[in-house]
Symmetry: C2
Subunit: 372 residues, 2 copies
């Protein structure tokens, strides 16, 4: 039996967020590494942080969510070539969730695309150097577009009271922002983009700070404005995000997985006129139907054995038919729930399977996602 946590030392190789000192000051209990940066993973009371997110409001250092900026005369051409959705009507101030693939249709990342200016797009990326793909493609094509990672560091404000906090800070206009819509703004000279977005289904906003020297100042302003709503520091929360069916790149998918396997087919449009990376492969997968499907598992276990540390095998009558990608003891349901990838002909709701966890085998029933 191996230990569940390890010591990790500080090194200049792994960067720190503009909010780092504030997270330490607030008692951050652990970090992981994400996009070559330290990512806070909790403040010592994950269940308390979950309830605050569900009922009140939480603030998260998510500076690890880097932006791949594409800027220049060919920015639109590059963006349209990288993403499998029609960008013809994508307006400045609009965001879109885009599964970005390789030429075989494998998932390279699942960012949010933001059209920041006419000739400037951001891809707000999950863990992976997607800037290298975008930059390599653009340069080899000879297109006139710069691809780089600018000084932008998101701070998320999430939960049902997030809107009230942000409206108090920025004004009533934020209530009119639709999901993924955003607007350039500033407070006390600190420039940031305010977007209605964030990696939870409890509602909220992200402040894309555009000056890395002002992290502590922005953090303090949010903490102060949120005080009367009960705000406190938190992190992207596995309890909530798994209950809500939000996916985590590298856990729930990687390059060996295509969008149609993981409920992202609705974000792929192979009918559009524009060519894009993976179009032919994705059209073929769509026509043939995916060989695996992502399904929920309602598991029997209600004893806390932690998160899955690796991909747990899913068996049917003793035969492996898939694996669990993310599992958690759900506070809402009182038993384990899991996101899993199983063979398409074993994916029927109601099917009985077994999950081989690191602490024994559990019976489970196939269900839909989000969990109900």
């Amino acid at each position: 039996m191996s230990p569940k946590t390890f010591q990790m030392g500080l090194t200049p190789r792994i960067l720190r967020s503009p909010y780092y000192e504030k997270t330490v000051e607030n008692g951050v209990a652990g970090f992981s590494v994400y996009n070559h940066m330290l990512m806070p993973t909790g403040y010592g009371d994950l269940i308390g942080e979950y309830h605050r997110l569900m009922n009140d409001v939480s603030m998260w250092d998510v500076a690890v969510e880097r932006q791949v900026e594409m800027v220049g005369p060919d920015a639109h051409k590059l963006a349209q070539y990288l993403v499998p959705r029609d960008l013809t009507n994508c307006r400045i101030g609009q965001g879109m969730y885009v599964p970005v693939c390789d030429f075989e249709g494998g998932m390279l990342n699942d960012p949010v695309l933001l059209r920041v200016e006419e000739d400037k797009y951001w891809l707000s990326i999950a863990d992976g150097d997607y800037d290298l793909w975008a930059g390599g493609v653009a340069a080899a094509k000879g297109w006139d577009v710069k691809v780089h990672i600018p000084d932008v560091s998101p701070l998320a404000i999430q939960g049902p009271k997030a809107e009230a906090v942000v409206a108090d800070m920025l004004g009533e206009w934020v209530k009119d922002l639709r999901y993924f819509a955003f607007k350039q703004t500033e407070l006390e000279g600190i420039p940031f983009i305010c977007a209605r977005s964030g990696w939870s289904k409890q509602g909220g906003f992200e402040f894309y700070l555009q000056d890395g020297t002002k992290g502590a100042q922005l953090w303090d302003m949010v903490a102060e404005a949120g005080k009367k709503y009960g705000i406190a520091p938190g992190t992207p929360n596995n309890f909530e995000r798994i209950e809500s069916g939000l996916l985590s790149y590298r856990s729930d998918m990687d390059r060996t997985v295509n969008p149609f396997e993981i409920r992202l087919g609705k974000y792929v449009n192979t009918e559009i006129e524009a060519d894009f990376v993976g179009k032919a492969a994705l059209a073929q997968i769509k026509a043939e139907g995916p060989k695996r499907l992502q399904v929920g598992l309602k598991m029997e276990g209600s004893t806390d054995i932690g998160l899955n540390e690796s991909k747990w095998p899913v068996l049917r009558n003793g035969k492996k038919v898939g694996h669990v990608t993310s599992a958690v003891l759900s506070p809402k349901f009182g038993h384990y729930i899991a996101i899993s990838l199983v063979e398409t002909n074993e994916a029927n709701a109601g099917g009985e399977v077994e999950v081989v966890t690191h602490a024994g085998t559990q019976k489970a029933t196939i269900t839909s996602i989000p969990f109900k």
Copy 2:
């Protein structure tokens, strides 16, 4: 003052090496994250591990050193286009250190290139998804070459007695391998490439295991063969690698740094006929001379304040002229030594500077690398 180490939890998002269970069994004391994998960082006695590496032999799980495989009819064409050295005479079984750059000459990685077969190359990469760059470039060019990360996991055997261990295992032929040369081999049915290489200057070999299910078995075979030479587990060792002047990607360089600034100009040949990524930019930098230079710093401090956790400013007469990228209290010299990047006109050997560490300012003298 922030803590120097943090807790990190296990997650399926961060992969484990085929040697992982063996490192835990052997008392690994900490991990970092490198190429989306857990990387062992020590076994609790870094000074003891240093002396074992300097005098005897050490074995390291360096599976995080992933291979970017380029295979297919256009593999050679792609390899030559990515690297700034002439590959015309690169033979099967030969390795070469190659600084790979972007089109502006910025360092994207500093891998070892291995010609594995006529139409198959590996880039044995430092931390970063260079496969995305190589794959994006190749696909956008329409070249017939597959770029992927195969099931290959290096195990390093380093130190003056490494050759004896490896010769006992594989035979006397290993003594004829020149530096970076390699040969496909196997032991008890376990396939691996044996190369004379490794991230130390104490001599040694790397076994590029080609079957991830056989990690524990290969580990045990090396441990058994090395027993009479005093082998024990270790990790890439900052004391030794900084004394020897070996560079660490993301610490000592990144995309904002070019090869001429960091003593890698000898690995860039802008005179060759073939075109390669960054050729024009690199030729211009070479002609104009780099604006910064990597130099050693002999520091005054002999009290252990740990590694530099971030880039320490380097001052001359109170003005910032550069920064330290890697620093350590050298067991060999008994004082701190540092690799730093300073303005070219401040880089003269013997120059007096000050270094702003996280524990106060230290006087330092500019010197050459490797340290003497």
